[in-house]
């Protein structure tokens, strides 16, 4: 009898038209969705043309989202998006989302029901793994891979081994998905998940919202992982029902085998802060608080933490308070829908009253693109996903990664602080 399969293996088997797969198997898979953005799509389009491509295999299989340097920061980035516009027009690609109609790809695509449980998604963006929250096998690839999907509708993948991440308990106040994933990456290291799938399970996951799951799955890649997968459960079913989607009836076998198991208790988890210059440098906030780390900028947003729940957490802390005089606090809703919802709930008013700058959806400052670049010696506390050297600006700047609640509290205090201590 064949061994039991993990959820990754189950999805990959379906998409490869096989009944069973094993780790290390090499597969040619049918792709449900291939996505690229304003940075990676121009290169994919160029490769497609160079390979003699004229018509894409299936225009409905492709989503292109200009989100990194938008609204365009300069002439060159405007020209990059022009390449996308010309391509989608000539190829009849409908899943193209302009500024004002969309937002950050990994926030808006699940929100619009464009990615679903059980899907196989490849994206020329490393944070494509976000959709693992929905129970989709979603992984980052390069532009040439996307050109390959344009040509053939398929991609090549090897079946990863899986690490089981078993979660128990429930979050303490002011603790969220961001803290869990920073903790996990500090355990695994930036290479600990390399070439592997992370599969989340355990009684604790029912206490994690879909938005929290997206934050967790989003940063799976910071451990090197190919995907961070949640099982399809009641939370998934409810999220998809709101989008008129019937959740995929797919789950791991009970006797699935894993190469490693990590256990995490939410009951004991404290807010985490990842020190420069690695997302794996996560430490309990108590330590950061003791060091009295002054910050110049707080950024709340991105594909990691730009969802409505994140903005609610920030507003909850900022309500009735003002941002420290020596801090700039940037709030970036992840999508037009998140923006509209925040407006409706009065969150934007709270932010403005607290003297935060509220921006239109963009990846902007997360990757040092625009809309909040750091100068030499400046320190940011940010809800984004990477704190590499020069990531948000000058190579002599520093980024501390944290949750929206911690970033908001730190913006008020002018230093990194537990939200309970503001």
């Amino acid at each position: 009898m064949n061994r039991g399969m993990t959820l990754s293996e189950k999805i990959l088997a379906v998409k490869a038209g096989r009944t069973h797969v094993e780790p290390d198997d090499f597969l040619l898979v049918e792709v449900d969705l291939a996505l690229a953005n304003d940075i990676t799509a121009p290169m994919a389009i160029e490769k497609f043309m160079e390979a003699g491509g004229t018509r894409v295999h299936d225009p409905d299989q492709i989503a292109l989202v200009p989100d990194h340097f938008v609204p365009n920061k300069d002439i060159k980035s405007a020209e990059q998006v022009q390449i996308l516009r010309k391509f989608v027009k000539s190829q009849g690609i409908r899943k193209f989302f302009e500024v004002g109609r969309a937002g950050i790809e990994h926030v808006m695509l699940p929100e619009e029901g464009i990615v679903k449980s059980g899907d196989l998604v490849v994206g020329a963006d490393s944070h494509t793994c976000t959709y693992g929250a929905l129970g989709a096998f979603a992984t980052g690839v390069g532009s040439t891979d996307i050109a390959g999907v344009f040509l053939t509708g398929k991609a090549w993948l090897r079946v990863p081994k899986s690490i089981s991440v078993r979660i128990t308990g429930s979050f303490l106040p002011y603790v969220s998905g961001k803290d869990l994933i920073l903790k996990l990456i500090s355990i695994l290291g930036t290479g600990g998940g390399n070439y592997k799938a992370l599969e989340f399970s355990g009684p604790g996951i029912e206490n994690i919202s879909m938005e929290g799951r997206m934050t967790i799955a989003n940063m799976a890649v910071e451990s090197g992982a190919k995907v961070g997968l949640f099982p399809v459960d009641e939370v998934t079913v409810a999220y998809e029902k709101d989008r008129n989607i019937e959740a995929a009836g797919i789950g791991p076998d009970r006797e699935a085998s894993f190469c490693r198991t990590v256990e995490l208790s939410l009951d004991e988890l404290k807010p985490q802060v990842a020190y420069p210059h690695s997302p794996a440098n996560g430490r309990d906030i108590d330590e950061a608080e003791k060091e009295r780390i002054a910050v110049h900028q707080a950024v709340i947003g991105s594909c990691t933490n730009g969802r409505i729940e994140d903005l609610r957490a920030a507003a909850d802390v900022l309500q009735g308070r003002k941002v420290h005089p020596e801090v700039r606090c940037l709030i970036i809703p992840g999508s037009q829908r998140v923006y509209a919802q925040a407006l409706k709930e009065g969150l934007l008013e709270t932010f403005i009253a607290s003297e935060c700058a509220v921006s239109t959806p963009t990846c902007g400052p997360c990757l040092g693109g625009h809309m909040g670049i750091l100068g030499e010696g400046e320190i940011a506390v940010s809800t984004t996903n990477r704190n590499f050297v020069g990531r948000m600006g000058h190579k002599g700047s520093k980024v501390f990664l944290a949750s929206p609640a911690v970033a908001a509290a730190s913006a008020v205090a002018g230093r990194i602080i537990h939200p309970e201590h503001v």
Binding site: T40, G123, G142, D145, A147, G224, R386
Partner: protein
């Protein structure tokens, strides 16, 4: 296929933001990107005259971070002939093979020093440090993977081989044994 180069030594976890900072990604032109290679960790690297015909030798997890194919493309455009590392981040490795940049995983501590003259034989799986007169071996790429690199990348290979050969290629690569424990695409 043999590639030669002078070693330029880097440490562990060299990430894609260091290889090519995102602020330059408003261009997809590899030659332009090459000008900014490694600039935040090594000032003036992209302007070095001796980049052409050199090799990068690095530690664990080279190329971690973003999926930007601009990273291996910039390395290739700079004329760097090969990247040798103890391990590669998944997407970087995949992108390198897809664009035909030779990458070699060598987990043995081979004691590379700056400017050592290195020769890599991709067919036989042999790395020779001509300066230190030392040799070590790695499992060579299977023939089809070597062909992709020789052809200049995945799409070029597809173009040359047409559809029938693609399925053969996939069967062939399924037998891919080179460090198969550690490589997942």
């Amino acid at each position: 296929m043999k590639v030669n180069g002078k070693a330029m030594v880097f440490g562990d976890n060299v990430n894609t933001d260091e290889i090519i900072p995102a602020r330059y990604l408003n261009s997809s032109d590899p030659d332009e990107l090459a000008q900014h290679l490694m600039e935040d960790i090594c000032i003036g690297f992209g302007q070095r005259r001796n980049l052409k015909g050199s090799m990068i030798v690095a530690g664990e997890n080279f190329g971690c971070g973003s999926s930007r194919e601009h990273a291996p493309a910039a390395i290739q455009a700079a004329g760097i002939t090969c990247v040798i590392a103890k391990s590669f981040a998944r997407i970087f490795l995949r992108n390198s093979i897809n664009i035909g940049l030779p990458v070699v995983e060598l987990d043995e501590d081979f004691g590379f020093e700056e400017d050592d003259q290195i020769e890599v034989d991709l067919d036989t799986g042999r790395v020779t440090n001509l300066t230190q007169k030392k040799e070590c071996s790695f499992r060579p790429y299977p023939p089809d993977l070597q062909e992709i690199i020789t052809a200049g990348g995945w799409l070029e290979y597809v173009k040359e081989k047409k559809d029938t050969a693609i399925s053969e290629y996939f069967q062939e690569i399924a037998q891919f044994i080179y460090k198969s424990e550690n490589i997942r695409f």
